[in-house]
Structures are given as C-alpha cells and as structure tokens.
C-alpha cells in the first residue's frame, strides 16, 4: 500500500528531524534510497529544485516524492505526513508548556542533538561526495573518479571562497546552482 507507506515514512521524517533544512536531508536521503523512491542523482536534482523554489525543503521533497510514487493523492499524503508532527508538537508546546525550553532536561537533550546533527550533515555530504564523484557506494564498488565533476566541484568552491573574500557576503545558493548548471553544460558537452 504505497499511500500508507508514503504517509508513514514522511511522518517519521517530520517527527525526528531536528534542525530544519539541510539537517533533514540525511534522514530524507536514507528513507528515499531505502524505499527505492529516488536514486542519489535524482535526490540531488530534487534538493536543487527545492533550493530554487520557495518553501521548506522537507515539504518540497514530500510533495515531489509523493507525486512520483502516488500521483496527487500520494503527494498530498506525504506532505500531510511531514507537516503533522510539527503541527501537533508546536500546538502542545504553545498551548500547554510555555517554558518548554527552560527545563534543564530538555536543554540537555536538545544540546546533545546539536553536535549529532552537524555530524549527520557532514557525514551525508561525505558519502554523497564519494558515491557521486567517485562512484564509491560501498566497499565492493570500484572507484571511478568523475574528473569533470571534480573540476566543477573545485571551481564552485573557489568561486564561493573568492566572492566571500571580496564581497564579504556569500553567494546565494540559487546563484551557485545557476553557475554550476552552466559549468555542467559546458564540461559534459566537451
């Protein structure tokens, strides 16, 4: 039953991903790869689309995956799933527990989740880097470096670092995505 599966999977994602945005990507990645709903490349495409369209990444992801797997109803149920935990938790906090963040136990719990989330994001970036740019998915796969991809990665990193030095303001993700689209068209056409 794909509808129930979509709903429950995105309900889980909504219920335990702390930190918003990029922090949710590691759990979304795990779930969509595990169910075979997206490949690594499709996932990266979708993150780019989410970054370039308005709205939270998690909602965009749920809508897209839901639509691919179960049409409009799948799309609706996945989005409902990812939003519902937030809605309920915030209602409870706003209505009942006014000093939620003042409890020492809550602080201790949330405080140690923070380094964990940073670790999850970094580890996700590392595994994505290995699997996309080196086709290194696990110990059995042969390493084939994607030279053109590595050159693009290097150019983006340099562009971002240089503009940050000169303009004191980082390049917006959308601009970086546009630059990399141009680089991709040029590099892979050669």
């Amino acid at each position: 039953m794909i509808y129930l599966e979509l709903f429950l999977t995105f309900l889980q994602i909504g219920a335990v991903s702390f930190g918003g945005g990029y922090a949710m990507i590691s759990l979304i990645r795990e779930k969509v790869l595990m169910h075979g709903w997206l490949t690594e490349e499709e996932l990266l495409n979708m993150i780019a689309v989410s970054e370039s369209t308005p709205g939270p990444i998690a909602v965009n992801m749920a809508t897209f995956v839901g639509s691919m797997q179960g049409g409009i109803l799948g799309s609706f149920l996945a989005t409902l799933g990812v939003v519902l935990p937030s809605f309920i938790i915030i209602l409870i906090i706003a209505a009942l527990i006014r000093n939620f963040l003042k409890y020492k136990g809550v602080q201790a719990f949330l405080g140690s989740i923070r380094p964990c989330v940073v670790g999850l994001i970094l580890a996700t970036a590392i595994t994505m880097l290995m699997s996309t740019l080196f086709s290194f998915k696990n110990i059995d796969s042969t390493v084939i470096p994607d030279i053109k991809g590595l050159i693009i990665f290097f150019m983006i990193a340099v562009a971002a670092a240089v503009t940050k030095k000169i303009r004191k303001k980082p390049l917006s993700p959308i601009l970086l995505i546009l630059i990399s689209a141009g680089l991709g068209m040029v590099m892979y056409s050669i």
Binding site: Q12, A15, S17, G20, G21, Y22, M24, E30, I47, A48, V49, E51, T53, P54, G55, P56, I57, N60, T63, F64, S67, S75, V83, S86, I89, I90, L91, I93, A94, K104, G105, Q107, A108, F109, S112, R114, P115, C116, G119, I121, L122, A123, T124, T127, M128, T132, L133, N138, I139, G149, I152, F153, A157, P173, I174, L176, I177, S180, G184, S189
Partner: protein
C-alpha cells in the same frame, strides 16, 4: 473573520516568497508580524524562533503553527500552516509532472550533472558552517566524531543503521549525563 483571512494571505505570501528554507523565512515573519502589524511582541517572537529551531520538523512549519496559534488559537494554527504549505505544494506538484520530460533533453541533463555537484558542495558548506558555530566542548566533539565515523563507516560497509537512532541516542546520552551530574550535585549538597 477578517483576521483569519488576513493571516491566511500573509502566510500564503510568505510561503510563496521564502527561498532557501527556514532561516530566510524568519526575517520575513518578523517583518510582517512584529514590525508591520504589531500582532506579536518582539520577546514572544524570539521565544517562538527558539522553539521552532529546537523542535523537530521544518522551521517554517513550526513558526507558522506557533504564530497562528498565538494569534487565533487552533484554527489560526491550522490556517497558517495550510497557507504556508500551499505555494510550495502547487509549484512542486506542477514541476513533478514534467520534470522527467525536462531531464530527457541532453543539455538539461548535463546542466543537472553540474547542479548535483553544486548541491553536494552546498550541503558540505552548510555542515562546515554549523561546525564553526558549534560550541567546541569535549562532549560535543566526542558526539560529532562518533556520528561522522559511524555513519561513513556504516555506509561504506553497507550496514543499515537509521539516522533516527543517531539522533535519539545522542539525545539520550545528553540527558543521562545531565541526570548523573545533577544527582552527584545533590549528593554533595547533602554532605
């Protein structure tokens, strides 16, 4: 009734114009609800931001639910949350209908190969930025290194271990350390 409609349209507008996720949205929310309309006080808004960041789920949804509830109770929360989701739902649903066809153009697929690389870089730099802001206590560094090592190693050796466990175990360890600490504190106070 007018207030409900007002809330609905403001949230719809915010949902339509927030690019780049939660943090971008908080600035827009503050502008609308604190500076312009004065529906929420500055202090209450800051409390809201802290809660939206520390609870699970997208920050944008958490903020919308909270503000909606504070303004107009349960139905306010419902209206605000639905309104903030509608734009992205419609846009992404429309994109999902023709995305595969779009990708079948060779040049577009090349562009997306470049974009994929960029996204990895974006995630990596987001992680590094958070690492810079993180308090470098020994406890935090231990948790961080264990999580990175385990996650990369498990993926290399194809061991399945859900992200959910990392989060819950880290939280539980933090709580445990705190409880031990406060228990010890109490014993010393008894002496």
């Amino acid at each position: 009734m007018k207030k409900y409609l007002n809330l609905f349209f403001i949230m719809l507008k915010i949902g339509l114009f927030t690019f780049g996720g939660g943090y971008a949205m908080i600035a827009l929310l503050e502008n609308e609800f604190v500076s312009k309309k004065k529906w929420i006080e500055k202090n209450e808004f800051l409390d809201m931001v802290a809660i939206a960041e520390s609870t699970p789920g997208p920050i944008a949804i958490n903020s919308a639910t909270y503000i909606g509830y504070k303004m107009l109770g349960f139905f306010g929360a419902l209206i605000a949350t639905v309104a903030v989701c509608i734009p992205s739902f419609i846009i992404i649903y429309a994109i999902s209908l023709f995305f595969d066809a779009f990708l079948s153009f060779t040049l577009v697929s090349y562009a997306f190969r470049g974009i994929q690389v960029c996204v990895i870089w974006l995630i990596l730099s987001a992680g590094l930025k958070m690492l810079k802001q993180m308090k470098k206590t020994p406890f935090n560094i231990v948790i961080l290194s264990i999580v990175i090592t385990c996650m990369v190693a498990f993926s290399v050796f194809s061991v399945s271990f859900s992200t959910i466990f990392y989060i819950l175990i880290s939280g539980a360890v933090g709580l445990f350390v705190y409880l031990i600490g406060s228990l010890r504190g109490r014993k010393e106070a008894d002496k």
